[in-house]
């Protein structure tokens, strides 16, 4: 029987190639994602391992919060520099080095802020090479207050050399330093595209911290000393609040935080891989259904000469498994190539990864093959079951007997599935469980796909009416063709339906988000100018900016916005700080109760949503834990209406600065008399990392950010739409093949090739539009449900982008027209005599 399977497969190469393509694309996505994230993971692990390779032990402040935000390391307090001497004197310690890090960003000779693609970092340079991860490749170590060493990557790219001056953006005013040396990081020019500015320790302390304070102390143990013993000895000498850990622990923590971020990245990509495969499964299901239909006589003949039902079932599934296997293997290969491509793309963005080859874990192959083969086989089960139901008599009888599942059964299953899907969706959204939402969406799609054949005929007829009018006879026959097998029409359109449903849902989501962002700015900010960073990984902007801006003539009032993390009731929260002076001029705070000015005596403001959910009112006390100062019982001084700029918790700037280390403003707000944008921009020429925007521009920036995100999602969803399109091409090809005789007859009675092509195209457009209409309806519903279920200030408005949805519809029709190209050509090329003679 295997021989029959194999031979059958070879005989249907063409029709299976298109099916295989769907699997190839899906598996490519999966394996590419795995290879890329594994490679990135490996790269970062190596990098971080290298940074702490020489560090045996590290003394540092204990973590202040129980939780960290994703991709971040724990918040710790600085430790006194005097500990260096204490630790140095512990037996077994060979050397110690003080470590201070902070924000330092180079300015290019053209006056632009340099962002290496991986951000910018400033550190203290440790001249002791036995502990430092950096090593000089030219020049000397920084010693004086104006000395800096630069990473070789930045030096090469911007043509800096030893002895040259360079401007550096800092938390305080921008300063000019002299490059005394160029450093490399191991063999790499820099750390994953991050620019490095390293200063002598006192300089670093002055620009990043306070004198006498360190972020950590790196410790080298004497050779032969037992690290654990030394660790205990040091721990015994340091005050509480300081912990001593191994270099490996520090490296592992940092690797973990990067893995968390990478995990989100890879999960997001895998979701899209899954979507592609899900759409692909419909295509496979459809292809196998059609193939089984076309092979009815052959399968019946096999049954006559003695093939058992099981053999027929296995034969169809075996065919599917083989198709799945071959396409998965191809997909794996292409995935690796795609990862290569992505790595190249990263390099083009300036993220140079240190020499490490692509990582291909066995897991990548196992998951890729299992998913690829699994999806194909599962999709082929229903067609295989139908193949089993073929009775031997079908080989000889003219009429085809009961191959369709009874309408009622399909309706019931479809209806139940759809209902379960809707319930899961609703529950998933209510409790914010995305996996549940996903399963619900899958169930809804399956349910609708099963119900679709029941309304395919009338809908196809309706959509086809204008086509029949415009294209004449070919249009009418095309319409009839699309109506005569409602099941096939529905199945083919289902794939496109899913693709368009997702696109439409995202478009509703995006439109709502855009509208929310716009109104958020309108309802939150009253200042004329908003000064903030460009968003290139900087932790904030210089705190010298506000004093500078406030002195520009024409600037009336200014305000500074800070934000930071605090812990409230065991969860990490964002707190915003703002000055109570000029508050009403710069920010729109609409109070429900209490008084906004109360923050000036250390009170806390909360928004109405938080007040509701935590059951708080003016006068209540809330425990807020700050990393620097510990738990503070804060009085709620007022409750304001939700405000996108302020978030949920607001304190005064003075309070904030007293409770946070290294606090950098995130924005400066200014009101002006008339248009002072140019004047302010000119005044801030020394700060090329900031952007001075009017309210409208700020709004536009926010909208652009949303548009960028949407663009990315659309691009990823495009794959699913392409697979759906392949499905349409496939069905049309199979239909043309099946109707060879009929087409021959039409040609024989005088239909021109052009008319044949028109007929196939009309059918294709109807298929595409059917999928699109259903998809857009479902998608809009999904999108609306999604938006209304997300209870966030960022998503306060609901909007259905009707023009955009109409564009999708038109695009779908065009795609349908495009999908018909090849099948139409093939149909038109059929030789009349051959076509009629075909058995």
């Amino acid at each position: 029987m295997w021989r029959i399977t194999l031979k059958g497969l070879l005989a249907h190469k063409l029709r299976l190639t298109l099916t295989a393509l769907a699997i190839v694309l899906g598996v490519t996505f999966i394996s590419g994602t795995f290879v890329l994230t594994d490679t990135l993971h490996n790269t970062f692990s190596n990098l971080i391992g290298n940074i702490y390779a020489k560090v045996d032990l590290q003394a540092r402040g204990v973590a202040q919060f129980n939780h960290t935000s994703i991709g971040d390391t724990a918040t710790r307090n600085p430790i006194p520099q005097s500990l260096m001497t204490t630790i140095r004197n512990v037996p077994g310690v060979e050397a110690v080095a003080g470590d201070v890090t902070g924000y330092a960003q180079f300015v290019s000779p053209e006056g632009k802020a340099i962002s290496g693609g991986g951000g910018s970092i400033g550190l203290s340079y440790d001249p002791n090479q036995s502990l430092s991860a950096l090593h000089l490749v030219s020049g000397t170590a920084p010693t004086g207050p104006d000395d800096v060493v630069m990473d070789a990557g930045t030096a090469k790219k911007y043509d800096f050399a030893v002895g040259q001056p360079v401007k550096i953006l800092l938390a305080g005013p921008t300063r000019t330093f002299t490059i005394t040396g160029i450093v490399k990081f191991g063999t790499a020019d820099n750390v994953a595209g991050t620019s490095i500015a390293a200063f002598a320790l006192p300089t670093a302390q002055q620009v990043f911290q306070e004198p006498g304070r360190l972020d950590a102390i790196n410790i080298l143990t004497r050779s032969g000393a037992d690290t654990a013993t030394v660790q205990r000895a040091i721990q015994a000498t340091v005050p509480t609040g300081v912990q001593v850990v191994t270099g490996k622990t520090v490296a592992d923590e940092q690797t973990d935080s990067i893995n968390q971020a990478l995990g989100i990245f890879s999960t997001a990509l895998l979701v899209f891989a899954f979507i592609s495969l899900f759409v692909g499964a419909f295509t496979i299901f459809n292809t196998f259904s059609i193939i089984v239909g076309q092979r009815t006589r052959e399968l019946a003949l096999l049954r006559i000469v003695g093939a058992s039902r099981r053999q027929v079932f296995r034969s169809v599934l075996g065919e599917a498994a083989l198709v799945g296997l071959v396409s998965s293997i191809i997909g794996l290969g292409v995935g690796v190539l795609a990862a290569f491509g992505l790595e190249g793309l990263l390099r083009a963005f300036g993220i140079t990864l240190p020499a490490s080859s692509l990582v291909f874990h066995a897991r990548t192959a196992v998951v890729g093959l299992a998913v690829g083969v699994g999806v194909t086989v599962v999709a082929a089960i229903s067609p295989a079951r139908r193949a089993v139901r073929i009775s031997p008599i079908d080989a000889i009888s003219q009429h085809q007997t009961g191959l369709e599942i009874s309408n009622r059964r399909r309706l019931t299953i479809g209806g139940v599935l759809g209902l379960i899907g809707v319930i899961l969706l609703a529950v998933g959204m209510a409790v914010s469980q995305l996996p549940l939402v996903g399963i619900g969406a899958v169930a809804v799609f399956l349910g609708v796909a099963m119900l679709a054949p029941t309304f395919a005929r009338p809908v196809a007829s309706f959509i086809g009416r204008p086509l029949a009018r415009w294209f004449g006879m070919p249009g009418r026959i095309g319409r009839e063709n699309s109506m005569r097998s409602p099941r096939r029409t529905a199945q083919t359109a289902s794939a496109l339906m899913i693709g368009l449903a997702l696109v439409s849902a995202i478009s509703v989501f995006g439109a709502s988000l855009t509208k929310s962002v716009t109104s958020a700015v309108d309802q939150a900010v009253s200042a004329d100018l908003i000064i903030s960073d460009f968003g290139d990984n900087a932790p904030g902007i210089s705190n010298s900016i506000e004093p500078l801006v406030s002195q520009i003539s024409g600037v009336e009032d200014t305000n500074v916005v800070y934000d930071g993390n605090v812990e409230i009731g065991d969860s990490l929260k964002d707190v915003t700080a703002i000055s109570p002076e000029h508050l009403s001029e710069t920010v729109l705070v609409r109070m429900d109760s209490g008084n906004a000015a109360s923050i000036s005596h250390g009170d806390l403001l909360i928004d109405a949503n938080t007040a509701d959910s935590k059951n708080l009112a003016v006068g209540d006390t809330l425990d807020v834990k700050f990393a620097k100062t510990g738990v503070v019982g804060m009085r709620v001084g007022g409750v304001y209406k939700p405000n996108a700029l302020l978030g949920s918790y607001v304190v005064s700037d003075k309070f904030f600065l007293a409770h946070f280390d290294q606090a950098l403003p995130v924005a400066v707000l200014a009101t002006t008399d008339g248009d002072r944008q140019q004047a302010v921009t000119d005044a801030l020429v020394a700060y090329p990392n900031v952007e001075v925007q009017t309210r409208d521009e700020f709004q536009k920036t926010q909208k652009d950010a949303v548009a960028k995100l949407l663009g990315l999602i659309y691009a990823l969803l495009a794959l699913a739409v392409i697979i759906a399109l392949i499905g349409i091409i496939n069905t049309l090809m199979l239909s043309v093949f099946e109707r060879t005789r009929e087409i021959g007859l039409l040609r024989a009675v005088g239909m021109t090739r052009r008319q044949i092509r028109g007929m196939v195209r009309a059918e294709s457009v109807i298929l595409a539009l059917f999928g699109a209409v259903v998809g857009i309806i479902i998608g809009t519903g999904l999108g609306l449900a999604l938006v209304s279920s997300i209870d966030a200030q960022e998503l306060s408005e609901i909007s259905v982008p009707i023009p955009q949805l109409i564009i999708f519809l038109v695009l779908a029709a065009l795609l349908g027209l495009f999908a018909a190209t090849f099948p139409a050509r093939r149909a038109a090329r059929l030789d009349v005599l051959d076509a009629i003679a075909t058995d």
């Binding site: 029987m1 021989r3 029959i4 031979k7 059958g8 070879l10 005989a11 006589r297 052959e298 003949l301 096999l302 049954r303 006559i304 000469v305 003695g306 093939a307 058992s308 039902r309 053999q311 009775s391 031997p392 008599i393 080989a395 000889i396 058995d839």
Partner: protein, 248 residues
């Protein structure tokens, strides 16, 4: 090979076979109570006009279709008692088929088509028997060809070889010459006749060609779902004459 001794049981027989399509006043009685016996080692032709039920009779007796009532036996086996697996095994091991058209799996070569029932059963091919068949049918040089590369006559000979490969108790041939030219028909019928006379093969052939029927040992005439006559040692003229008297 010599003619086998007639065994105790016939190759196949049916008792009071009914097959009804539809129900109520619209019911069509394709078989209206047929009792018939096909002797072992005999070549029997079933004749009758279109719609007389001859194909239905064959389908029911071969286990391809279920009769509405009545009993059918292949050898001693009551085929109504068999489930799908049993019927599959029956078809594979004890019954051979030759049809008018679409006899071969298009993706397999002639040789593979011949051994298909054996392969499906997971048994090994009796090479001697295979060689004997392809030699006698004159298809040795066509074995590696696909069905589309064979003439109609060659295809039918391949189908014959396949029907015989398992040495079945009985071969059902449904209009085997219906699509063949006269030369190919003569060859095919001659071969069927020889396999009965020389190998003792039992054959039931449905046909409406009097010349074809003349190759059989016995002709059974059907009309409107019942047996209306029988003729032993037929000739084409006798068959024609009988059909005329039956008004067909």
């Amino acid at each position: 090979m010599t003619k086998q001794e007639p065994a105790a049981s016939p190759a196949a027989h049916a008792i009071d076979l009914h097959k009804t399509y539809g129900s109520g006043p619209a019911a069509v009685h394709a078989l209206a109570g047929i009792t018939v016996t096909f002797e072992r080692g005999h070549f029997t032709a079933v004749m009758g006009p279109s719609g007389s039920g001859k194909s239905t009779l064959m389908h029911c007796m071969a286990g391809l279709d279920r009769a509405t009532s009545g009993k059918t036996y292949v050898g001693e086996q009551d085929i109504n008692a068999l489930d799908d697996t049993g019927l599959t095994q029956l078809r594979r091991d004890r019954v051979g088929f030759v049809f008018q058209s679409f006899n071969l799996v298009p993706t397999l070569t002639a040789g593979e088509n011949i051994t298909l029932p054996v392969d499906l059963a997971g048994k090994s091919v009796d090479r001697e028997w295979f060689d004997y068949l392809v030699e006698h049918l004159g298809i040795r040089d066509r074995l590696s060809h696909r069905p589309t590369e064979l003439s109609g006559g060659q295809q039918q000979r391949v189908a014959c070889a396949r029907a015989l490969i398992n040495k079945p108790d009985l071969i059902f041939a449904d209009e085997p010459t219906g699509n063949l030219d006269s030369n190919a028909s003569t060859e095919m019928l001659g071969f069927l006749q020889r396999s009965t006379r020389e190998l003792g093969q039992s054959i039931v052939m449905v046909t409406h060609d009097p010349h074809g029927a003349a190759y059989a040992d016995r002709v059974v005439f059907l009309a409107d779902g019942t047996i209306v006559g029988e003729l032993k040692q037929p000739t084409a003229d006798k068959v024609l004459e009988r059909m005329r008297t039956l008004g067909t």
